[in-house]
Subunit: 340 residues, 4 copies
């Protein structure tokens, strides 16, 4: 951490401030005296020193963090890619393309079993489906809840596909014991109490990026889970909120190579929620593969026109067949090109 001191700071103030830094945080402070300003360089573990606190000091003009504020998530301290492997053998982050597909909401046994079989046949490795649904309006359909979870488990039994579904509150963690991957939605990315509790489980956690969160904040939320002892975090880019109204959110594909550089965690892309339009899913899925994503999460509904939520962004099973065929073909070409 580099701290530029206020040119009006007195020697006594500076000495007091340095002393505080060294005693309170156990860092070593080096001083560099320039003509216009004095700069402090902190050596040691600065992850616990808040930039807000530093900025509040009267002697401080500005502060710059050199070290990243995350540790366990950081590729610097963990150079190899994290590969998440399920007991049933599926892997995420091993260089293959992992597709998670299924309806936004679980609606009936017939629906979920049908969709599960179709996405399995098309090459999906996971079934995704919402049992508990975060909805902007209290009057909208909120999911089948526990019954939805049971239907997902039924579809898993029938097809063998492990299941991914979203959790919305801490006291549901027990109920999610039999879920294969627990999803934390964008609106809960900074629900720190939930992250802490999930850090105590040993379930893989799919952490969606918040719709107005920076990549650094996203990695810090992953750090919450890992700090609790759970190393199995999968990041999921799903679009950020911008002024553009042609899409529901703006898919930030540059997040993929940035996350890959800063962290060892796998990162996948959800083009369905990012764009909000089924007509854009194919093209954005292909782009995500070419940007280096480890996987895709795609909404598929047997009958998008009658879906109880988010129908506008769902593919039909037939359209999903086509998208899956194309993305796997592009992934194959991409791997050959990158490894040649």
């Amino acid at each position: 951490m580099i701290i530029v001191l206020n040119p009006h700071a007195t020697k006594e103030q500076v000495a007091l401030f340095k002393n505080t830094l060294e005693e309170k945080y156990g860092v070593t402070v080096n001083t560099w005296v320039g003509v216009e300003s004095t700069v402090l360089g902190l050596i040691g573990d600065t992850t616990q020193i808040g930039e807000d606190w530093v900025s509040a000091q009267e002697v401080v003009e500005s502060v710059k963090r050199v070290q990243e504020p995350y540790k366990k998530v950081n590729r610097k301290f963990h150079p190899d890619n994290t590969v998440i492997e399920l007991p049933t053998g599926q892997k995420i982050g091993d260089g293959s393309l992992c597709i998670m597909a299924g309806p936004c909401s679980v609606e009936s046994e017939e629906q979920i079993n049908y969709v599960a079989q179709r996405v399995k046949d098309a090459g999906a490795a996971f079934l995704r489906g919402g049992a508990f649904k975060p909805r902007t309006s209290p009057y909208s359909f909120q999911g089948l809840k526990a019954e939805g979870l049971d239907l997902l488990k039924g579809a898993r039994k029938v097809t063998g596909l492990p299941i991914v579904t979203e959790i919305m509150r801490v006291n549901h963690i027990d109920m999610f014991e039999s879920v294969d991957i627990i999803q934390v939605g964008a609106r809960n990315m900074q629900n720190f109490e939930l992250l802490k509790e999930l850090g105590k489980t040993d379930k893989p956690i799919l952490l969606k990026r918040g719709l107005a969160n920076t990549i650094e904040e996203w990695l810090m939320s992953a750090e919450y889970i890992m700090a609790g002892g759970n190393d199995k975090v999968i990041l999921c880019e799903r679009g950020i909120r911008t002024y553009e109204t042609a899409t529901r959110n703006t898919l930030d594909l540059s997040a993929i190579p940035i996350v890959k550089k800063r962290s060892h965690l796998p990162v996948i892309v959800d083009p369905s929620h990012a764009t909000g339009k089924s007509s854009l899913v194919e093209q954005m899925s292909l782009a995500a593969v070419a940007a280096g994503a480890d996987g895709l999460m795609i909404e598929v509904h047997n009958d998008p026109k009658h879906a109880l939520s988010d129908g506008a962004q769902s593919l039909t099973p037939d359209k999903f067949d086509e998208v899956a065929r194309k993305v796997f073909a592009l992934k194959k070409a991409y791997d050959e090109i990158m490894n040649s």
Copy 2:
């Protein structure tokens, strides 16, 4: 709700779609046939019809909601201002200016009692202070938790000021039984499970605007609380996330008159978190009063340089004296001008 149909839709498709709308949602559908396109007008309660679902229909080109999606929050159905009155007599929304002040985090008995007395003397009607703190980093100070709540209650006993503090998880609601106003932070504005549970209490809820949420989404989150049976909602504007980096967030003061027009709920402003800079708090507090705010939430710390969180934005008690004096004086002038 106005639905513009796809010019390529067949008569059969349109008939089927209209039938679905009428049967599934109990609305009456009027048809207007133009030369280029056909438009449907829905009459009845459309709050349960998702625009996403409508957009997903093949026969639909676009959709426009005429009715607001919120009901209990809506001024149309509740023309008079909601005034929230505490058992101890304090009122919010009655035309007076309500100031809530105190430290970001409760740190010690001495600190909180001292600050409580100082803000009371300056005219604050409520003591605010964080016991449970949402922090981006798992390594940052997370608040004194239950001990912090006890210290707040102690300060209330000493000064008589009712207390406002933030809740972060559903199973803390019992613990917050003795809190006077429960705050829902910006990051939890769309933690719908928490909102639902708070809707079942009879505590006043201070609902902060999410840092990337529209005014409509904010009102929908208030609707969640009211739909549960709790009418006592206070809205709090605290800045939105934009590209500008000179302030932590961009304070959106135009939200005040917009909320006042659309809703009957009181709305206050938090200039401390919005700007992240203590040097801007005075000017933004005055501007908030002139924009018509019902109150202000201001961070005051006995010693901002040693605050354990968010020191950069806290005022000293002396500076708060000055700010409070100015805002009350401006409020007086404002009322005279607006009522003359």
Copy 3:
């Protein structure tokens, strides 16, 4: 255009308003009377009716445009892709991948000739280079200006590559007569006076998206050029401004399929300016190809460390060789997949 009337509007007001619409704009107005509100449907050419003007009417509650406000740019009225062909044979928009490459600023004859030869050898079809540079600071290098143009022409003579360079003011149009493609930068996307004058030329115009402009505004700026009589417009996505600070701008690749659907114009991507980081250019170039872009604009500098502007985002010629090889290989695979 669909106009929802204010429920409090009187019959006389409505009649007067309808009359105004019909007489002033020559449209036919259909009325649909619902229980809660009355809706007007306008038939005819509504591109000249401003939504602002409609909204200002006391009788109006809200307005929704059904027709897009652009005509010549609109794919509806021009279903086939526009292919821009230069006298020297290069084509943009014909299904091939067109790469424009070169330094941010032209700096010397040696530099530009060297880079031109290197990018040509790697497969670029155009040489790009800045002679007039828009710079945030008046104290930054503003380009070699007329001398820079001469150096570009010299490099064209040596290599045969047509040249693309940015214009910054109307009275330079004559000077740009010998330029092959005239670029309008992001900051000038809504410099309507410049667009109008370029509409009177017959030069291909490369129109960059403004850093805070919607896709609709971008298409409207293209409409300005086409309305003047110049059909040769190439759109260039180069990132939009968001709250994220990990990249200079956020590259919006979903703009590619959206523009392709709404318009017949070719669209290319500039990953160098979008991300501001050379380390992201390869991955984002590949993603742009997979998103369906007609071309790429990439910064290449013989010596990025000594570049007089924007060095951080430039590739070396050696790195560009590699990127070009990969993107052409991916484009080949992409075409096979999409056409199979």
Copy 4:
């Protein structure tokens, strides 16, 4: 400027880099060697050293500017407020509240003379009105152009009010010779060629903030004008583009105290364009006064419903009377409070 070096940089690379900095830019470079990283501190005038260029160096990990990149605009080098005084005596920035009012577009002699007289009677010091109009659509009314300028001059003759109007291209500067204050619109804030030419005139320039520009970029654009020799710059905040759709733009009132701290230039607020809604103008005008603005720019139209542009945000003359009365009264109270 503080530069953190890459820990992998060799001694030779560092020596070469330091040498380049000293020779190329004439700064003195101090080195501070820490355990984990080496930091360079640059002393001297760094305004010409681009951060992009520094970041591009292989030896550089990151860079932090300590000095602001603007000089003439900077309050540090010009502590007193700039007061702009017209030959006819009007002052901006002297502590008084300066109101500029008038229609978005000049439409007819009758209209402009009527509105001019009404706004003068209500206390406005300047008549604003558009002769050349920047419009998103080429098919929208583009202003009366030269005829509009003549009508403005006529209204000035009749009422004595000096006039403010927008310029859109360099070669109109002669035509604007008789205009009292030349306005640069938001879309042209970074039309650097126009700024340079205006810097050669001695006219007061009203520089609107670009709709996606930071405060620093805005000040840099003012620096362009001042660098050319013209010290008479008035800044105008008019809302920035965000994701919120309830207002046209989000008015950033915190920009007022920030600009006041960083610069000596006067700053005014345009609530009409910022919100796009006449119903918000009064409240946001009052808030702007309380935020410390030196003036207001307000749209007034004799007949907003028939205005040829931007009617939705215009006040009637009667409503303007009321708004002006209130803002002057609030300004009086504000001055008493701030000076007591």
